[in-house]
């Protein structure tokens, strides 16, 4: 019975099936909001699903010169990584499906795997545009990853633990301390915009410059999977941010807790869409400068505040 429950958690709810559908719903919310910010109508609710099905039905072309095994395997590796990372993030409860000490670090690195997988996938597709895009993906990684990790350290430091479930539990016990990390929350929002490769940090797949970036040569099922990975990554990151910075479900029990989870993740998706619609794409070196000159110091400052709060208040 325990096994069935665990399997259903992993595969149906809130694991694979729910996550895929919710990721598509979030993609729709993102696209719809983006459209409405731009005074457009936007896609109907089933558009992401329809796109996914359409891509699945399309012919899959693997470039002759590409490394066939790597080219096919890497999107799946990326998918596996993001799906796994979700298991450590609490959904309706304070504790996640699986939790062990310092799982925040594990989740953080699991979420880096898609970026690396896309880099390798672009590199192995041997196209010039894909290679350029891959290099940009990797270069970008160094810009946003550091500020993101630093601000994630803030709440962890405050709660005195590296475990996501325990951080959430700490904030449920001390909701007032959530305000301390407001700055960190903003930095995290900007940084995950880079992780998800969206405007202003969509440098790696800037369509007017390098066509499709690492995904230039992808088509059919493989492209469907890569797009799904990005969608799921958005949900997982939103859930992570919500758990670490917003107190997750606040221990309100399954139904209310779950609704609060939806509300918070959608709020984060909405903020991301808003951010996306008011900025232009930066250049690679401008992004580097921005992340190291402004974002990282702000993140460090946030960490410093946390240290002070920890030392004098908690």
């Amino acid at each position: 019975m325990d096994l069935v429950l665990k399997l259903s958690y992993m595969l149906i709810f809130p694991g694979f099936l729910f996550l895929v559908l919710y990721a598509m719903a979030c993609e729709w919310v993102d696209r719809k909001l983006y459209a409405r910010f731009q005074n457009r109508v936007g896609p109907p609710w089933f558009q992401p699903l329809a796109d996914f099905i359409k891509l699945l039905a399309k012919e899959e072309i693997v470039p002759e010169a590409a490394d066939k095994i790597m080219f096919r395997a890497l999107p799946v590796v990326a998918l596996a990584a993001v799906l796994t990372s979700f298991l450590y993030i609490p959904v309706w409860d304070i504790t996640a499906f699986h939790s062990f000490p310092a799982d925040l670090v594990v989740v953080f690195y699991l979420l880096t795997i898609p970026t690396l997988a896309f880099f390798l996938a672009g590199w192995h597709s041997t196209s010039l545009f894909a290679a350029l895009g891959s290099l940009r993906t990797l270069t970008q990684l160094f810009a946003y990853e550091v500020p993101l990790l630093i601000v994630l350290m803030g709440p962890a430091l405050l709660a005195g633990t590296w475990t996501i479930s325990e951080i959430t539990a700490f904030f449920v016990a001390n909701p007032g301390l959530l305000a301390v990390n407001l700055l960190g929350f903003c930095v995290a929002l900007v940084a995950i915009q880079g992780k998800l490769e969206r405007v202003p940090f969509d440098i790696a797949e800037a369509e007017t410059e390098i066509v499709g970036g690492p995904f230039t040569e992808f088509s059919g099922r493989l492209l469907a999977i890569t797009r799904l990975v990005v969608d799921i990554e958005m949900v997982v990151l939103a859930a992570l941010i919500s758990a670490v910075f917003l107190g997750g479900s606040f221990g309100l029990g399954p139904v209310w807790g779950f609704l609060l989870f939806l509300l918070k993740t959608l709020l984060i998706v909405g903020l991301l869409a808003l951010f996306k619609s008011v900025v232009a794409r930066l250049r690679l070196e401008q992004m580097m400068k921005f992340c190291w000159k402004y974002l990282a110091p702000v993140a460090l400052f946030q960490l410093f505040i946390n240290i002070l709060v920890k030392a004098f208040l908690v």
Binding site: E209, V279, R281, Q286
Partner: protein, 396 residues
């Protein structure tokens, strides 16, 4: 660092029309750029020779989808000069109003494209939405959103009535408000500004020596505008400023275009208020006497030149078009050198290229070898080419 050559085009998302650019990159930096023309040659100049003047106007109008009125006006002006036909003042005023409305729609379109090229899609959507206002106006006055078909030898084809004049003024007020907003956006939005400022530098001297035209040269601080330098239509009747600035980069070109919008609104307001009464066209002969003329026109993208030679028949003997993009293409290489790959789309977009306008056959002289092939040589070449592939056309 290893150098790589990146082919941009003929098919590329940054290019709205096929044209080939080869960039030599060192990392992200552009070391050199190569421009290859000729993917869009449509033989319009030749086709004109087998059409009568009336038919030619519509063909010439279709050289460009955006500045269609520019081309047809330039052509008609040349024909009128040869035939000695003087269009009545009202016709000239209406031509000028359409020309300025076209400039508005072209510059708003450009603003959107520029926004899209730097990944600022919200600006793209907003400016194209506002552009609809002027497109609707054009449809109302001329009967079509693009390719207005307003010109004929000796005047214009349609009149502007008082109701239309009122609508134009109303829309202009709305657009003025929006344009002032865009100025604030261009000057204040930090992400947009860092992408535009200092990109695609074209110093004053280089711009002069490479013969750049239009907003490109005006942003390098050179007040060159055919509307002022060699007034045509009704431009000598209105007061307006030639917008220039000293930025000499993409940001400067953006500002020139946006401020030109405000000037266009002023011109249209003045013209509508002083619209003279009278006929909108005079009768022109079908057969144009022999002669030749050059006509100049300040299209939204720069100076447009047409040369027409007639021989006393209904048909022109030779038509030559020099579209503004051709004049600006020479400076592309200078603007790209030393920049980043990421700047490529916006640098290209900043000259507001219209490759299908520009693609004409030009003969380059001076390198010693004559690359001009006549018809017979081309035919023999194609026969040989197919022979190698097993198809014999020599007897057909």
């Amino acid at each position: 660092m290893a150098r790589i050559k990146v082919p941009i085009g003929p098919q590329h998302p940054a290019l709205k029309e096929p044209e080939s650019f080869n960039l030599v990159l060192e990392g992200e930096r552009i070391i050199d750029a190569e421009v290859k023309l000729g993917y869009n040659h449509r033989g319009i100049e030749k086709a004109c020779e087998s059409r009568n003047i009336t038919q030619c106007i519509y063909l010439i109008e279709r050289i460009c989808g955006i500045c269609s009125h520019s081309h047809s006006t330039t052509f008609v002006q040349a024909v009128e000069e040869i035939a000695g036909v003087e269009p009545p003042p009202r016709a000239l005023y209406i031509r000028t109003i359409i020309a300025e409305l076209e400039r508005i729609h072209s510059h708003l379109l450009w603003l959107g494209v520029a926004g899209h090229e730097v990944g600022f899609d919200t600006l793209f959507m907003y400016s194209w939405r506002d552009r609809e206002t002027v497109m609707d106006l054009l449809a109302l006055i001329t009967g079509n959103r693009i390719n207005y078909g307003m010109n004929k030898v000796g005047g214009v084809r349609r009149d502007i009535d008082s109701e239309q004049a009122r609508l134009i003024l109303e829309s202009i007020d709305l657009l003025t408000e929006r344009t002032e907003y865009y100025i604030k956006v261009a000057v204040n939005e930090s992400t947009l500004k860092v992408r535009l400022a200092g990109v695609g530098k074209l110093p004053r001297e280089t711009a002069l020596s490479l013969g750049a035209v239009g907003p490109t040269v005006r942003a390098s601080g050179i007040p060159r505008d055919i509307r002022k330098d060699d007034p045509y239509a009704a431009y000598d009747q209105v007061d307006f400023n030639v917008i220039t600035n000293e930025y000499a980069d993409v940001f400067g070109r953006t500002l020139v275009r946006i401020y030109e919008l405000l000037e266009s609104y002023q011109i249209i307001r003045a013209l509508i208020q002083n619209l003279p009464d009278g006929p909108i066209a005079v009768k022109a002969p079908r057969k144009i006497p022999a002669g030749e003329a050059v006509s100049r026109y300040e299209a939204p993208r720069g100076e447009n030149i047409h040369y027409v030679r007639t021989n006393g028949s209904e048909f022109p003997e030779r038509v030559k078009v020099r579209a503004p993009t051709l004049a600006n293409l020479a400076s592309i290489r200078e603007m790209l050198k030393g920049g980043f790959l990421a700047d490529f789309p916006i640098v290209i977009a900043a000259i507001d290229p219209c490759f299908s306008c520009a693609d004409r056959m030009i003969r380059l002289s001076g390198d010693g070898k004559d690359a001009l092939w006549d018809w017979e040589r081309l035919r023999n070449y194609s026969i040989d080419w197919y022979k190698l592939r097993g198809i014999d056309f020599s007897n057909r």
